[in-house]
Amino acid sequence: MTITEAIVPLAIITFAALCHASFQLSTSMLTMLSGHAIGRQTARRKLARLITAFILGAAATTALLLSTLAFWLDRTFTHSIPLYVWSIATGLAVGVGISVWLIYYRRKPGTTLWIPRGFANLLARRSKKADTSAEAFTLGFTGVIAEILFVIAPLTIAALILLRLQPGWQLAGVALYTLLAITPLLIVSSLVSMGQKLSRIQKWREANKRFLQFIAGAGLIVLGAYIYVDHILAATALGLGEL
C-alpha cells in the first residue's frame, strides 16, 4: 500500500480524531487538576508529572479503545464490512452529532457538561485531590471512559476505516488518531507550563463553548454523511451491497 492509497483513509481518521478532540470532559478535568495542584502550591516538577500522567492515561485509553474496537470488528467481519455496519456507523455519527448540539453543554454559566451531577461532583473531587501520578493516570483513563457515549461515534468510524489499511499503516492510524484526540490536553498543559493563567484558559473555553459544540456536532454529521455516500450509496449504486 502506497502513501497515496493510504492518504484518504488517514484523512478520514484525522477528521474523526478532530471530532473526538472537540469533546471537553478531559480538558475540564485537566484544567481542574492543574488549578487545584497550583492552589496547593505543588512543586513545578510534581505538577508536570501529574499533568503528564493524566495525558498518558487519556492517550493510552484512547489507543486501547480504538485498537480493541478495530480488532473486534476485524474478527467479527473477516471478509468485508457489511453495509449494515456502515449504516450503523452513519446513524451513530449523525445521532451523536445531533445530541452534541442539543445536550452537550448545560444551559448554565461556565462549561458545565451533560454528565450527571453526582458523577461530575465525584470527578471534580477526585481531580482536586489527585496527588500522585497513578491517581492522575486513572483520572485520564476515567475522563475518556466517562465520555464513551459521545466518543464512540468517531472511534467506531476510525476503527472501520483502519480495517482498510495494511498493518503498518494501521499502527500509524492508531498513533495519528490518539495524538490528535489528545491535542487539547497537550495545548492546556503547554499553556499551564508556560505560566498562562488558568482563569484566561477557562474564560476562553467558556467564551467559545457554543462554537466548539457546533463544530463537534457538525463534524460528526459531516463524517456520517461522508460514510453514507462513500460506503453505502456508492456500494448500492454499483450493486455491491452485502447485507
Partner: protein
C-alpha cells in the same frame, strides 16, 4: 471569637455547619494561588476579603454556602478579578 452563624450547604443535602472563616480564607487563598498570585499577595487579599464577608455574614443568623460564594466573589473581584472568576466558577468547570 467564631461567629454563631449557620451555613446551609449546597442544595440543602448536607447538614448545616458553623461559619468557619479559616475555611473561607483558605479557599480564597487557593483561588489566588491557582492563578499564580504570589503567596504574600494571596494572603493579604484573602484576609481583606474575609473581613468584608464577615461584616455581611455577621448581620444574619443563617446563610447559604451559595450566598457566601457569591458575596465573596463580589468582594474578591475588587482585589483580583481573575481569582474571583476562578473562585466563582469552580463548581461549573465540569
Amino acid at each position: 471569637m467564631p461567629l454563631a452563624v449557620d451555613v446551609v450547604k449546597r442544595y440543602g443535602r448536607r447538614p448545616m455547619e458553623k461559619f468557619d472563616e479559616s475555611k473561607l480564607k483558605q479557599s480564597i487563598y487557593a483561588a489566588c494561588l491557582s492563578i499564580k498570585t504570589p503567596a504574600g499577595e494571596a494572603d493579604s487579599t484573602s484576609s481583606a476579603v474575609v473581613k468584608s464577608v464577615i461584616v455581611w455574614v455577621g448581620a444574619r443568623p443563617t446563610v447559604t454556602s451559595s450566598d457566601i460564594r457569591r458575596v465573596t466573589s463580589t468582594h474578591l473581584e475588587r482585589f483580583h478579578p481573575d481569582a474571583a472568576y476562578i473562585y466563582q466558577h469552580q463548581k461549573s468547570i465540569l
